[in-house]
């Protein structure tokens, strides 16, 4: 065999990969009489050692815990969504057509508020403030969506009770099947459902969730009806802290309520 024909076996021998006994014996016989191939073997052995050093010197991730936390949130959201779809597939859907308007409205509210930064919203005529203050959310987290006008849609409603203001973090309304009962009950300590993401009406009709990120925002209670939630009279001036699950297309898919703040806690 020529030197060239031995090259592949030399590399494999240097890598520590197993050669069959016959091939190794043949190669070692060649190496005893061929300085060039012996030099090649020595170089390849040093290359193998050096590559192992490079492998050992690889950096470690610094954000594994954060990545894991985000993935677990997405995992919970996905399975909550699957549960919701499974349950909704067992009953007739009568409100679906109305969600289109609501979806556009909800996305518009979020997008516009995010772009406005810390400014408080005002109604078009400049009269009463239309609250949401999402100043804590990065401006590039949501994309604006086309608007559409139409009559007020019918909605599944979840009531956010006034006592929730004083509830500890991680107490927020759940949705289907919790949507059919008072959120007060869902907010009791130990009820896992309150920790889960709730699909946004805006997510209906969007492409399947593939990947995304979670963005912490503050929403004025007054805009919650746009998401299909009722607000108990007297708590409209509060601020709800929530996590939005943003999909691969920058469209929000789900929301998880974290805390409800009163006016006194609101940032100026």
């Amino acid at each position: 065999m020529s030197c060239r024909e031995h090259e592949a076996d030399i590399v494999e021998l240097a890598r520590g990969a197993g050669l069959d006994a016959e091939a190794e014996a043949r190669l070692r016989g060649h190496l005893t009489g061929c300085a060039g191939c012996a030099a090649l073997l020595a170089r390849e052995q040093r290359m193998t050692s050096a590559l192992r050093e490079v492998a050992e010197a690889a950096p470690q991730p610094s954000g594994s815990d954060a990545i894991e936390a985000q993935l677990l949130q997405a995992f919970a959201a996905q399975h909550a969504d699957e549960s919701r779809r499974a349950s909704s597939s067992r009953r007739p859907v009568t409100v679906r057509p109305a969600w289109g308007w609501l979806a556009a409205a909800a996305v518009l509210v979020l997008a516009a508020v995010l772009w406005r930064g810390t400014d408080r919203w005002r109604s078009p005529d400049g009269a009463a403030p239309v609250p949401p203050d999402l100043s804590s959310a990065p401006a590039d987290t949501l994309a604006a969506a086309p608007t559409a006008a139409g009559p007020a849609p019918r909605r599944d409603r979840v009531t956010i009770p006034a006592p929730l203001r004083d509830a500890p973090p991680q107490t927020a309304p759940g949705r289907a099947p919790a949507a059919r009962r008072p959120a007060q009950a869902a907010a009791r300590a130990g009820d896992d459902e309150v920790l889960r993401f709730v699909s946004l009406p805006a997510a209906i009709g969007l492409p399947a969730f593939e990947s995304g990120r979670i963005v912490r925002v503050e929403l004025a209670s007054a805009v919650l009806p746009a998401f299909g939630f009722d607000v108990v009279p007297g708590s409209e001036s509060g601020v709800v802290e929530a996590d939005l699950l943003i999909g691969q297309d920058d469209q929000p898919r789900a929301i998880r309520f974290v805390d409800l703040k009163t006016d006194s806690r609101r940032r100026q």
């Binding site: 290359m47 050093e53 490079v54 950096p59 990545i67 399975h79």
Partner: protein
């Protein structure tokens, strides 16, 4: 019917099955067990810690969504994950040309005889690692993938072939070719210090100085 093993002892594919059934603890354990494999593959391919962390997240989002596609008969879980990561890496490299090595030299074309000069002899360990890391990062992608999977991650040819979607023989020949290119380039850089500068032209400073922990700046053009 026997109870399933605890998540920390279950084989990867069982853990994955449990996770796909909605077991959050199984998913968490699966992530903890395998995310470093993905991270190392990506960081060796790109030289960037932030990109590697992004891709880790992307890969496990795919697992969450499409994990049922995993076929234990075709590849190990690690090979499958690296195959997914490879697609993200290629997209990132396509999107961000700054991370694609711009190498004016044809692969392996050099007047340096790799056998006449030992490219790694006489260097301090840190120098040796840095020189070789740069050289690996400057390899064309197909050769870099082979070196990273087979030599740095010590994956079998079969698993590497599954991750790369090509025959085993192709992986082996790419790896041998890659090692030959590395030897030639390292020899050239030993002969001429300027040569390494030429090889590294066009790459971001962070990559010149070692592993990049810089967060990418938004690409104004896109």
């Amino acid at each position: 019917m026997p109870a399933p093993p605890p998540t920390d002892q279950a084989p990867d594919h069982e853990l994955l099955t449990q996770a796909l059934a909605g077991d959050e603890q199984a998913f968490a354990e699966f992530f903890r067990r395998r995310h470093l494999d993905v991270f190392r593959f990506v960081v060796h391919m790109t030289g960037s810690v932030p990109i590697a962390e992004d891709v880790v997240q992307d890969v496990f989002m795919v697992v969450m969504r499409d994990g049922a596609r995993y076929d234990a008969g075709r590849a190990t879980v690690t090979a499958w994950l690296c195959g997914i990561a490879r697609n993200f890496v290629r997209r990132r490299l396509e999107r961000d040309r700054r991370l694609t090595p711009v190498d004016p030299a044809d692969e392996g074309e050099s007047s340096a005889d790799p056998l006449s000069i030992d490219p790694l002899a006489g260097l301090l360990r840190a120098e040796r690692i840095e020189n070789l890391r740069r050289a690996v990062h400057a390899l064309p992608v197909v050769y870099r993938e082979a070196v990273v999977l087979c030599d740095l991650e010590e994956m079998s040819y079969g698993d590497a072939a599954a991750a790369l979607g090509c025959p085993v023989g192709t992986v082996r020949s790419r790896l041998h070719r890659a090692r030959a290119i590395l030897a030639v380039r390292l020899a050239a850089s030993r002969l001429s210090p300027a040569a390494s500068a030429v090889h590294n032209a066009g790459r971001p400073p962070a990559l010149e100085a070692g592993w990049s922990r810089h967060v990418e700046e938004p690409d104004a053009g896109n």
